[in-house]
């Protein structure tokens, strides 16, 4: 019996092969757009993480601090779970750094009888902690430690980072919703094509004593297959797009991306196929509507 249902689904798929090919491609295109969008977000996220590794907090120590206090601050910083990495910069290191930063004009500092620069710690935070409010609270906590004079960090940089992250999320929601709506419409209207072509058939099947399951079966199978094929085609196409563009992207952003662009993770492939099938089934189901005798 289910063989008959499957058979008539295949039969009907083949009979309307052009319109079905079209539907499959439409679904694929929609999923490709979502895929490219996901790939962008995924890679931007990777890139943000990469960039954020350059972000540091400087903890200036008091001039009169003693060795044991330095040790205490060091311990406190190292044991903080949000801090990835702690580097101590002595007064001499600081002066040398300033000199090298001034380049050929650094010689002006050679005449100094006393080093005016303080010793400091340079801290790198874990990427997860790189949120404006979080960074602020960490900095405040450190500032209150014994022997700490001042804490400096790129407030602007953190706020940009936060904004970009927030912006991406808003964009993701906005565009994602739009595209999802688009896909639902596409599937719905595509299955409506199938359905309009076959209202007569459905009416006749009812009169011949077919149950609702027998009537719906082939449509659902057909929708599921179209959705699955759409998902598969979109994956292949995305893979192709990735191949074509990944090297170009690397060469386009030489400064920004020192590492190769990533394709979507493997688990998301299954998400693609499954959402193709689900969308196909859902679309068919909605398009079929309520069957009444």
């Amino acid at each position: 019996m289910s063989f008959f249902l499957f058979n008539s689904a295949i039969d009907s798929l083949w009979k309307g092969k052009w319109i079905n090919l079209l539907t499959t491609l439409t679904v694929a295109v929609a999923l490709i757009i979502i895929g490219i969008f996901s790939m962008l977000l995924f890679n931007l996220n990777l890139a943000l993480r990469h960039w954020s590794e350059g972000f540091g907090i400087i903890v200036y120590l008091k001039d009169d601090i003693n060795q044991s206090s330095i040790k205490a601050v060091d311990n406190a910083l190292t044991s903080n779970r949000d801090i990835l990495n702690v580097r101590f910069i002595s007064k001499d290191d600081a002066l040398n750094e300033l000199k090298s930063q001034l380049g050929s004009f650094g010689d002006v500092l050679s005449g100094l009888e006393q080093n005016p620069l303080p010793s400091s710690f340079e801290i790198k935070l874990r990427p997860e902690a790189l949120e404006p409010s979080k960074v602020k609270s960490i900095a405040l906590k450190i500032k209150k430690m014994d022997g700490v004079d001042d804490v400096q960090y790129g407030e602007r940089w953190v706020s940009i980072l936060g904004s970009v992250n927030k912006g991406l999320r808003a964009l993701a929601i906005l565009l994602g919703t739009m595209i999802a709506l688009g896909i639902i419409f596409i599937i719905y209207s595509s299955i409506k094509v199938l359905f309009y072509r076959r209202t007569e058939e459905v009416e006749t099947l009812k009169l011949l004593g077919a149950t609702k399951a027998i009537i719906r079966g082939p449509f659902l199978i057909e929708g599921g297959i179209i959705g699955f094929l759409g998902g598969a085609v979109s994956l292949l196409a995305l893979r192709g797009v990735y191949r074509l563009f990944s090297f170009q992207i690397i060469s386009m952003f030489p400064g920004l991306m020192a590492y190769p662009v990533s394709f979507l993770p493997v688990w998301s492939w299954f998400v693609f196929l499954l959402s193709g099938i689900t969308l196909g089934l859902t679309g068919s189901f909605i398009a079929l509507g309520r069957i009444r005798y």
């Binding site: 007569e200 009416e203 009169l207």
Partner: protein, 220 residues
């Protein structure tokens, strides 16, 4: 087998069936005739629950049709062979598949389907059109395909609406013989027709409808 008790059915403006009482026994063969628009098709549609009666009770093969649940309707219809006035052949399927459909819905095996369909096609005389699409058949050939589809499932009740409108007299008489044969084997047969030649000299019951009412009954 088929019982109408005071059945009325009206469409928005006009009454198609007016307080009809009718009793058709198991194994009977009955003709319904009357002018165009008298309500013949409506009467048949009430039997297989394509229309719901406004008033009255309809009993078909033991089912109270008026009170039938939606999900039981398919099982009622599986007992009824239907010849539609407007054919209702699926345009995208071959004659063979159109006829096999009835059996596939009844979950008959493919091997069995093959023999039964080809037998019935031979009986109605369009075996050579087995693989044609309906649009490539002449009017009369389509009509015979519909008759084959109605008969192939060995129904308990056969309802035929103008089954010979597109057939020449000779073929029409052949089809009538077919109906008589299946009736002899126990199937209750109900035929709506304008064709007086069809029921003349059959000795069967003929019901004359006019304006939705049974005008008179007679033997053909």
């Amino acid at each position: 087998m088929i019982q109408f008790v005071n059945v009325t059915k009206s469409y928005d403006s006009n009454i198609a069936i007016r307080a009809v009482n009718l009793n058709i026994e198991k194994g009977e063969m009955v003709f319904i005739t009357g002018p165009s628009g008298a309500g013949k098709t409506t009467l048949l549609r009430l039997i297989y629950r394509a229309e719901h009666p406004d008033e009255g009770q309809i009993i078909v093969a033991g089912w109270d049709v008026g009170k039938l649940k939606d999900r039981s309707i398919p099982y009622l219809r599986r007992n009824i062979g239907l010849v539609f006035q407007d054919y209702r052949l699926l345009q995208e399927k071959t004659v063979y598949d159109n006829i096999a459909l009835t059996l596939r819905i009844l979950k008959v095996g493919e091997g069995d389907i093959k023999t039964r369909v080809s037998n019935i096609l031979k009986l109605v005389g369009i075996r050579h059109k087995s693989d044609s699409l309906p649009k490539d058949l002449s009017g009369g050939e389509q009509q015979r395909a519909v008759i084959a589809r109605a008969l192939v499932g060995d129904p308990t009740v056969l309802l035929a609406d103008e089954p010979t409108g597109n057939l020449d007299p000779d073929t029409a008489m052949g089809i009538l013989k077919l109906f008589k044969d299946i009736n002899t084997r126990g199937t209750t047969v109900l035929i709506a027709t304008h064709n007086r030649d069809l029921f003349a000299e059959t000795g069967k019951r003929v019901i004359y409808l006019r304006d939705g009412e049974i005008e008179r009954e007679a033997l053909g």
